[in-house]
Structures are given as structure tokens and as C-alpha cells.
């Protein structure tokens, strides 16, 4: 195999730019800051972004379907607050969690109905629910924090399974399941048809409305789960949770190679995206670099990673100059 061919084979790997960036950071950090790879730091690194990670699973499906869901940033605190209120009213842990998730699912259902019925872009539908929900959270709590949960509830945010923190364990299980389902399950595959060509999906007999309901409800439930984990992790629930989290979640999904125009992407890329975000964040704390620089470095790394990705991607795809406009737009 010639060197050129070798290069071409290597560049076939998806997310190569991102992967390279991540590996380089890890190597650099491991050399200069040995604590970076300590088990406790790795655990904290994981725990720090586990909420985003869980939500990113659902968001991956949504964005592949050429949709978007901003409302998760409202659902996450909403679910945390609701579970707290239910717990405080002695509904019992199971019932409280189920009720909170049910309410979260309801939000997803409303989103989907607006998208289906009004035929308005999901961005605006879910922005409306986000704004409304943030308001609802305030109205419910009057800005006060909900506290006083029973210790048994702490498990969901702080407990361990096989020595691994429960949230990370839960995420790992879900990530594996989602990866497998998205790749191989007939029902989940519909997402690629809907995002790839909605007319084709319709003519193939896919029930688009029902599927939209499915993914938006699923996404909301995941945000609800993240909210419950947050409530348990911080033993409190507050309207201030999850401000700006929607952008972080969307970012990791897009960094991971899912295109906003839909039809393309997978869970693996999203997980890399999460890793990227978590590592950059942790790097700053570890190095003690002036925190003011964090945003600048984060933004630059983002551009570099995506630039590399596109650059290598362009090599991979050959000369189809024109092929590319639509792919890289919204």
C-alpha cells in the first residue's frame, strides 16, 4: 500500500479531526499534569458532563431528523423541580420520578404536536416551550430552591453501581443501547429517512407525525432523567439549573458530525463531542490557567477541531466542490 493510499484509508475514519484533537490534548495533559489521568479526575470529568451526555443521546436523533430541540434546557430544571415537589409531598421515590418523567414527556408531546400541526420549524416551536417552561419554573418555585429530599433519592445522582457512579453507568448503558438501536433497529432507522428526504420518508409509508412525537417525547424524557440526576446530585432543585445547556448539548452533537441539515450522523460522534467538551473544561481547572482565557481557548479549539474535520473530510470526499454547499449549511 503506497503512502498516499494509506493516508486515504486513514482519513476514511469518521471524526478524525476531532479524535486527533482529543488525543493530542490528552497526551499533552498526561505528560505535564499527571493527575489528569488519575481515576478520581476521570470520574469527575465524566460526572461533570453526564447531564449533557444523556441529553445529547436524544438530541442526536432529533438533529439527524433535521430537527432541533431547545426546550430541554427548560425540561431539565422542570423535572428536577417537579420531582422535588413530589418527594416533598411524600409521593414516594418511584412515583415521584415517574410523575416527573411523565410531565417531561408531556412537554415533548406538546413540542411534537406544534411541529406536526403548525408545520413550523422546530427551532421556533421549542424556543417557545423553552421560554414558557423557564417562566413556569419560576412561577412554581418563586425562584426559591426546592430541597429536603429523602436520602434514598441520593442514589440517582451519587450512588454507585459496580463501583461506577450511577449516572455514568446509566449513560453508558443508554449509549450502548442507542448506538446499537440507531444502527440496526428498523424503527430507529426511520430517523435517517425523515432527515434525509422527508418526501421519500412519507412516500415510503413512514408515519412521520408519529415518529416526530416519538423522538421529541424521548428527548424530553432524557432531559427529565438528566434533571432528576441533577436534583439528586445537588440534593436540590432550582430554576437556575441548565441555563445554556441546550447550546452545549447541540454543540457536542454537531461537533460529533451530525449535520444540522439532517440525515447523517451517529452516536459515536456525539460521545466524542462530549469528551471534547469535558476535556477542554477539565484541562483548564487542571492547569490552573487564567480562567478568563477558557472561553477563548474553547472557541478556538472548536474551530480548529471542525476545521480539521472538514479539511480531512474534503480530502475524503474528493473534488465534488459543489456537492458541499447544502451539507454545510443549516
Amino acid at each position: 500500500m503506497s503512502l498516499n493510499e494509506k493516508f486515504r484509508t486513514i482519513t476514511k475514519v469518521k471524526n478524525l479531526g476531532l479524535l486527533t484533537t482529543i488525543v493530542l490534548i490528552i497526551i499533552g495533559m498526561a505528560i505535564f499534569f499527571p493527575r489528569f489521568l488519575s481515576p478520581i479526575n476521570i470520574e469527575i470529568l465524566g460526572m461533570g458532563f453526564v447531564q449533557e451526555a444523556i441529553m445529547a443521546l436524544g438530541m442526536t436523533l432529533i438533529i439527524i431528523s433535521a430537527g432541533i430541540d431547545l426546550s430541554i434546557a427548560g425540561v431539565m430544571p422542570f423535572s428536577a423541580i417537579m420531582v422535588g415537589i413530589f418527594l416533598n409531598n411524600n409521593f414516594g421515590i418511584t412515583v415521584s420520578i415517574l410523575l416527573a418523567l411523565l410531565l417531561s414527556a408531556l412537554v415533548g408531546f406538546v413540542n411534537a404536536q406544534m411541529i406536526n400541526r403548525l408545520k413550523v420549524h422546530p427551532f421556533i416551536c421549542t424556543l417557545a416551550t423553552l421560554t414558557t417552561l423557564r417562566g413556569v419554573n419560576l412561577v412554581i418555585t418563586k425562584g426559591e430552591t426546592v430541597t429536603g429530599f429523602p436520602p434514598a433519592f441520593y442514589f440517582f445522582g451519587q450512588g454507585r453501581v459496580f463501583g461506577i457512579p450511577f449516572p455514568i453507568f446509566l449513560f453508558a448503558v443508554m449509549a450502548i443501547a442507542f448506538t446499537y438501536l440507531l444502527k440496526n433497529h428498523k424503527y430507529f432507522q426511520q430517523v435517517y429517512f425523515i432527515g434525509g428526504n422527508i418526501n421519500s420518508a412519507r412516500y415510503s409509508g413512514i408515519n412521520i407525525d408519529r415518529f416526530i412525537i416519538f423522538i421529541y417525547v424521548l428527548n424530553s424524557i432524557l432531559a427529565g432523567i438528566a434533571g432528576i440526576i441533577t436534583a439528586s446530585q445537588y440534593i436540590s432543585a432550582n430554576t437556575g439549573f441548565g441555563i445554556g445547556i441546550e447550546l452545549r448539548v447541540i454543540t457536542v452533537v454537531i461537533i460529533g458530525g451530525v449535520s444540522l441539515s439532517g440525515g447523517k450522523g451517529n452516536i459515536g460522534g456525539t460521545i466524542l463531542g462530549i469528551l471534547f467538551l469535558a476535556i477542554i473544561n477539565n484541562t483548564f481547572v487542571q492547569t490552573g490557567a487564567p480562567t478568563y482565557w477558557q472561553e477563548v481557548v474553547y472557541g478556538s479549539m472548536l474551530l480548529i477541531a471542525v476545521f480539521l474535520e472538514e479539511y480531512i473530510g474534503a480530502k475524503r470526499e474528493g473534488t465534488g466542490v459543489l456537492k458541499r454547499w447544502r451539507e454545510f449549511m443549516l
Binding site: 440496526n184 433497529h185 428498523k186 424503527y187 432507522q189 426511520q190 435517517y192 429517512f193 434525509g196 428526504n197 418526501n199 421519500s200 420518508a201 412519507r202 412516500y203 415510503s204 409509508g205 413512514i206 408515519n207 440525515g263 447523517k264 473534488t319 465534488g320 466542490v321 459543489l322
Partner: protein
């Protein structure tokens, strides 16, 4: 009693205030091949979409297999055994051929997981059955329009339907694939499958149909047994009068060389392409699906980079790096894929007509000259008989043929020196087609160089003064005007 599988009774359809189908009554026997013909915008596609559950009719009823049906979604129609090959390609470009063929009907195990090996195998079988060799794992987006059309046919076949509706399935196919398609039809017929077939290629319709129905302006003009009618009668029913010559006279005098292409190559796509174009002639590109005609045209136009080669226009070498350069030099390319690469579906007819020539419709300071634009739009609407004649209508709501006419108007409006037209009459009705041919001939007489890429051999032979035949990325022969179909096919399949 005769066994009618499909009875259409009093179907009407209105889009807002516009009535496009008016009290259609049609009976189709089990196992027959029933052709539906008519001018562009007559309502053929709309009628089929109603049968297939994509639109709901405003009035009337459909009786399928003895029961009254009222499909509210394509899913229901597919499940009861009605499949459609759509006029506008409807595949997912980012997915593989096999996934597209079996979209939503993938072989799965009990838990709903897709059996990939079986999926690939079945896809392969179906493609083999049609007689083409496409790897089921290639992405549909990487296929040419013609190949995509075949995938679309494969998709319909895989649905094991009782009725298959083909809405202009052959408009993007060349002779060889069309023949394969005839075999598929015969095969289906022998299995008792009913076929409804829409086409503007009347010879083809006569070759394969048992009966034909003619639509005009949303009304059913009549149904004839194919054996008992003639092309002339059908055309008369379609357009309301007789049509003269289908092709204009060929050029009497060929002038000097105005355009040539030398040594055009791109790895794995085409190699050593060379040809000249003379004043006053129409040059045709013939070839099988995927023979590289489109690629060459796109490369000349600057939409893709060739690895080597030069373009000489009126004796001067021109540097073309992008379509912009090409258009500035007067070289225009009318794409074969109007939906993805040509038209602006969500924009109005008027906006589409000026798309490639906005700079011609602005004053010195760059402001649009709206009155002129309006007049120009009206001119083309009349000239090409685009229906409905409303320059504010969204292209999305036009029939396929009228969309194609819009695309043509878009490029005629750019006033090219050299026009490379890739399947310019795809989906256009016979009458309009003859008009377009006449116009192209007039264009040539006024000094414009015209290259026609067409998969329809009669069109190539009838229209072109010389024919370059493509075969696997090379020009295997340049034939003079009196070439026969057999000759062309010989070079095309060397």
C-alpha cells in the same frame, strides 16, 4: 362481469381555488397495462397521488379490489397493495441503495432489528432481476439521475404490490435501460400485476400498453384500446388538434468552428474527451446511463474540476473555474436534475426565470428592473406555454413538465453563446417538446452553439446534426446526421 381492480368514480381535486381534476371516471382491469397520457399539467400526477393516498380527493370515490377505499396516507395505500414510482425522484441520497429500496420494509428479526446481510442480498436480487449491476452498498447520492430512477423502480418492485403506478419512469433512462424496463413490465404483467403507466414518449406507450386514457385540463377525454387507435388520434385528443412535424428540419449549412474542447480528462470519470462545435449545428451527446455525458458537461461548465483539458471559445482559450466564469463567457449548462441543481422550488416562477440572469435585469446601480422582469416572465410563460400562467406561483406547485419548461426558460433567459442542455425535454409533453425543438433550432440559426444530451435516441437522431457517442467516459464515435439507432447503440456498448 368484468373484474375491475380499480374503479375511479367522479374524482375531482381542487388546490385552493384551482380545480385540477374534474369528475374523472376510469375503470382499470386486473392485469392490464393502462397508460395515462396528456399534456403537462393535465392532472396525471395528481390523479395518481390521489390513488396512492398522498392527496385526498375533493370529491368522488375510489373502489379498489371491490371495496371502497379512502387512503389518508401513503402507508395505507402501500399496505393495501398500491405502489408508486414517483415522477420526482424521492430517494434519500445519504443512504445506501439497499436501504432505499427497502425503506421501511427492511427484513427484520422478531425484535425489529434489521438483518443487514439479507437486506443486501434481497436488494441485489431485485437489481439483478431488472438487469442492472449496481452495488447495493453505494450511496444513492453518488448515483446519476438515471441510476437513481432504476433504484426507484426497484423500490416499487420490492413492495410486491397489486397495482404499480409508474409516473414517467423512463424519462431519465436510455435505450438499453428502457428495454430492460419493458421486460420488467412484461414480467409483472404475466404475474397478474396491474400497471398504470404515465409517459410522454408515445411510441413507448404504444409498445407496452393495453389501453390508454387521455387527460386534458383535468378532464378525462377518453379511453382507447391501444390496438384500435393511432398516435395521431391520441395526440389530437391530448392537444385538441393535429401536430405537424415532431422535429424541425436539420441545418442546411454548417459554419465555422465556434467552440471546442480538447483533452478533457478526470480520473475514473472520463478520459480524452475532444470535440468541436460548429456554427449552425446541434451536437448531440448519446450514451447509456452513466456513460459520463453529464460529468463532462458539468466539468466544461466549471461545476467540477477536470484534471486536464482546455476549452476554446470562438478561437480563444477560456479559463473556467466556476459556473460563474462559464456564464460570464456565455457558456450555459441546463442540468438534468432540475429539483436539486436547477430550480428554486420555494420561489416563484418569475424569480426562477431570472435566476441565471439577474445581472441582466438590474440597472447601473444594481436595482432590479421589475417591469422588465415581469414582461420577460410573461414572454416565457406564453412562449413555452407554462401552466398555470401565473408568474407568482411557487414552482413547487407546478407539474413536472412545467417545472422543466421553467428551467429551460431560466437558461434561455441567460442568452447563452453555448448552451449545453442535459435532457432538456425530460417530462415535457409532445406538443411542447416539438416547440422546444423548434426553438433550439432557431437558437442555433441565430448563431448560438447548442449541445444536447439526451437519452432518448429518437430525439437525438431527429434533432441533432452530429452525434457524439459516449461509452464509459470516452467518446467512441462521432456520427453524422443520418445515423441509425443501431449504429449509435453499437458505439455506445462497444
Amino acid at each position: 362481469m368484468i373484474n375491475y381492480i380499480l374503479k375511479i368514480e367522479g374524482i375531482s381535486k381542487r388546490f385552493f381555488t384551482n380545480k385540477v381534476l374534474d369528475d374523472i371516471n376510469l375503470k382499470i382491469k386486473k392485469g392490464e397495462v393502462h397508460a395515462v397520457v396528456g399534456e403537462n399539467g393535465a392532472g396525471k400526477t395528481t390523479l395518481m397521488k390521489i390513488i396512492g393516498g398522498i392527496y385526498t380527493s375533493s370529491e368522488g370515490k375510489i373502489i379498489f379490489d371491490g371495496c371502497k377505499v379512502n387512503f389518508s396516507s401513503p402507508q395505507e395505500a402501500i399496505n393495501s397493495g398500491i405502489s408508486i414510482v414517483h415522477q420526482e425522484l424521492s430517494l434519500v441520497p445519504k443512504l445506501k441503495v439497499a436501504q432505499n429500496i427497502f425503506s421501511h420494509r427492511e427484513p427484520v428479526n422478531r425484535l425489529g432489528f434489521i438483518k443487514w446481510a439479507e437486506l443486501r442480498y434481497k436488494a441485489k436480487q431485485i437489481l439483478k432481476h431488472i438487469g442492472v449491476d449496481i452495488d447495493p452498498s453505494t450511496l444513492v447520492g453518488d448515483l446519476s439521475v438515471g441510476m437513481q430512477q432504476i433504484v426507484e423502480i426497484a423500490k416499487a418492485l420490492s413492495q410486491n404490490a397489486k397495482i404499480i403506478i409508474f409516473d414517467e419512469p423512463t424519462s431519465a433512462l436510455s435505450e438499453k435501460e428502457v428495454n430492460l424496463f419493458y421486460q420488467v413490465i412484461n414480467d409483472l404483467k404475466s404475474k397478474g400485476v396491474t400497471i398504470i403507466f404515465i409517459s410522454h414518449k408515445l411510441t413507448e406507450v404504444f409498445k407496452i400498453s393495453d389501453k390508454m386514457s387521455v387527460l386534458r385540463d383535468g378532464k378525462l377525454i377518453g379511453t382507447r384500446k391501444t390496438k384500435e387507435t393511432s398516435i395521431e388520434e391520441i395526440i389530437k385528443m391530448m392537444v385538441g388538434r393535429e401536430l405537424g412535424n415532431l422535429y424541425p428540419d436539420k441545418s442546411s449549412h454548417i459554419g465555422e468552428k465556434i467552440f471546442s474542447v480538447k483533452g478533457f480528462s478526470r480520473k475514473a470519470k472520463f478520459e480524452g474527451i475532444e470535440f468541436d462545435l460548429y456554427k449552425g449545428e446541434i451536437l448531440g451527446f448519446a450514451g447509456l446511463v452513466g456513460s459520463g455525458r453529464t460529468e463532462v458537461a458539468r466539468s466544461i461548465f466549471g461545476a467540477e474540476k477536470p484534471e486536464s483539458g482546455e476549452v476554446i471559445l470562438e478561437g480563444k482559450k477560456v479559463e473556467i473555474k466556476s459556473p460563474r466564469d462559464a456564464i460570464k463567457n456565455g457558456i450555459c449548462y441546463l442540468t438534468e436534475d432540475r429539483r436539486n441543481w436547477g430550480l428554486f422550488l420555494e420561489k416563484t416562477l418569475r424569480q426562477n426565470i431570472i435566476a441565471a440572469s439577474i445581472n441582466k435585469f438590474v440597472n447601473k446601480r444594481g436595482f432590479l428592473k421589475n417591469r422588465e422582469i415581469k414582461e420577460k416572465a410573461k414572454h416565457f410563460i406564453d412562449y413555452l406555454n407554462i401552466k398555470p400562467a401565473d408568474d407568482k406561483i411557487l414552482i413547487l406547485n407546478l407539474s413536472g413538465g412545467n417545472q422543466q419548461k421553467t428551467l429551460l426558460a431560466q437558461w434561455l433567459n441567460a442568452e447563452p453563446k453555448i448552451l449545453i442542455a442535459d435532457e432538456p425535454t425530460r417530462g415535457v409533453d409532445v406538443g411542447a417538446k416539438a416547440e422546444i425543438h423548434k426553438h433550439l433550432r432557431k437558437l442555433v440559426e441565430s448563431g448560438v452553439g447548442v449541445i444536447i444530451i439526451s437519452s432518448e435516441l429518437p430525439e437525438i437522431i431527429g434533432l441533432c446534426d452530429r452525434i457524439a457517442v459516449f461509452n464509459e467516459g470516452k467518446i467512441t464515435g462521432i456520427l453524422e446526421k443520418d445515423a441509425t439507432q443501431e449504429e449509435i447503440m453499437k458505439y455506445a456498448t462497444l
